[in-house]
């Protein structure tokens, strides 16, 4: 089967303040990337870019973005991403923000796998941010619950094959 080869750039949105949640949509990120490519590579860049490019995934809470492009044009996208310095907030203003490239993958699935592993590594650092002991224990419990796979209790008849 012949298919178009794509590259997926997984990036993290980094804001000035860590603790706020910003309202960022796929359209906003798409427009920002497009603007920068136009500034940096001109009409040629935009022309190459428009066919394959889209923002495939965005998560406001973990601040992850996945941008897709054709494999041949990865260099154009990768060189443009560092120049993003703010995103519009939808009310006419803009807030400072930049993208930090984490991973470049060949498929969405590969990126998701990487992301799960990455998040698992980041989890323990959240523990140090907690201020009170109660908060800490709750955090520890939720990390424990999310990372440990529980086995099904053995019942007669169910596990027989």
């Amino acid at each position: 089967m012949v298919r178009f080869k794509h590259r997926y750039v997984l990036a993290e949105l980094v804001f000035g303040n860590d603790l706020l949640v910003y309202n960022v949509t796929q359209r906003v990120v798409y427009a920002a990337v497009r603007d920068i490519i136009e500034q940096l590579h001109g009409g040629y860049g935009i022309g190459l870019f428009t066919p394959g490019m889209s923002v495939k995934y965005i998560n406001e809470y973990t601040r992850m973005v996945m941008v897709r492009c054709r494999r041949e044009n990865l260099k154009i996208l990768a060189s443009a991403i560092p120049f993003i310095k703010h995103l519009p907030d939808g009310k006419g203003g803009q807030f400072p923000c930049f993208l930090r490239t984490l991973h470049v993958g060949g498929s969405i699935k590969a990126c998701q796998k990487w992301l799960v592993q990455h998040n698992r590594q980041v989890l323990p650092t959240l523990l140090l941010r907690c201020t009170s002991e109660e908060e800490k224990s709750r955090m520890r419990k939720s990390i424990f619950d999310s990372t440990i796979v529980k086995e099904e209790p053995w019942t007669e008849g169910k596990n027989d094959t």
């Binding site: 990768a78 991403i81 310095k85 400072p96 930049f98 490239t101 650092t125």
Partner: protein
């Protein structure tokens, strides 16, 4: 990039965080650098050496920024340490200023890295050929006041001196971006991607970029992928090693003794001359295996020094 590869790779460095009295801002920048995955930063003091006698030439090196445990958490999880260095950048224009940048001066040796920023062709050639410095920095935000030439640059590369490209102005403004890109590609035609250090000179935390993004910027400046990645990791490290060999008396052997290791902080005592204390040597060779130097990098530099 897979996680296993990530651990093998050399540590990322940013050798130009401008030092200012505004400690809050400085702390924010350093914290952002930690968050982005840099493992060492250098606080940079820029000075113009005075020409009159008796004038204080160089301020004492800045103290490292105090960091909380929570910010150092990403390193503690991986079992690594964060390193804060000091760097002096001297802007030189005349011969008198050139002689002030003398590595025998005790205030200058107190800094970890020594850099110069020549303002004219004579000083540029002097910096490339004879000055005992580690990094040559050029102001790329305007048209260079002189034409770069191949011979001095070749000589600088042979001596192990590195050239610096600063990227934060390119992010700040679109006209500055043009100058930076044109000057950087110009420099790249002469040194062909070798001995380049990419660093930030960020005035705000938001102007920093992650190491992989900086490597992508290097691709924009005309390097290939591998060279661009080296420019944020291995080249920085070899510039630092160059500084260390300069600090030793003969320039042949430099010995580090790791005194104590508390989480997040390594304090290193430098022995200034080629010590003959056998016990110290044995102890260090034992510890040296644990350090993650790029293989073959240090002996190569030492060899160069010997030839000279």
């Amino acid at each position: 990039m897979r996680n296993s590869e990530k651990n093998k790779m050399a540590r990322f460095c940013d050798f130009n965080v401008p030092y200012s009295e505004n400690t809050e801002n400085l702390r924010q920048i350093v914290e952002m650098a930690i968050k982005l995955g840099y493992e060492s930063v250098a606080l940079n003091c820029t000075v113009t050496p005075g020409t009159t006698k008796g004038q204080a030439v160089v301020p004492p090196p800045p103290k490292p920024v105090e960091l909380s445990e929570a910010t150092l958490a990403p390193f503690m999880v991986q079992g690594k340490a964060f390193q804060q260095l000091t760097r002096l950048t001297a802007i030189i224009e005349t011969h008198e200023q050139k002689y002030k940048v003398n590595p025998n001066n005790s205030t200058i040796t107190a800094y970890d890295i020594l850099a110069v920023q020549p303002l004219n062709l004579k000083m540029f050639e002097a910096a490339c050929k004879e000055l005992e410095v580690d990094i040559i920095s050029l102001d790329m935000t305007q048209k260079l006041p002189f034409f770069l030439r191949l011979t001095p640059i070749k000589r600088a590369i042979a001596r192990g001196v590195h050239f610096e490209i600063v990227y934060a102005p390119a992010i700040r403004d679109s006209t500055l971006r043009r100058y930076v890109i044109s000057n950087a590609t110009d420099l790249m035609t002469f040194c062909k991607g070798k001995n380049i250090v990419l660093s930030s000179q960020a005035e705000k935390a938001i102007e920093l970029r992650g190491p992989h993004d900086v490597a992508n910027l290097g691709v924009l400046f005309g390097m290939n992928q591998a060279q661009a990645k080296d420019a944020v990791s291995i080249n920085c490290r070899s510039a630092l090693l160059h500084a260390e060999t300069r600090g030793s008396a003969v320039g042949v052997i430099s010995i580090e003794r790791i005194m104590k290791q508390t989480p997040g902080v390594i304090s290193v005592e430098r022995i200034p001359s080629a010590s003959t204390d056998k016990r110290a040597l044995e102890k260090d060779s034992g510890e040296g295996q644990d350090r993650e130097d790029p293989p073959g990098k240090k002996p190569k530099l030492v060899a160069k020094k010997k030839i000279k």
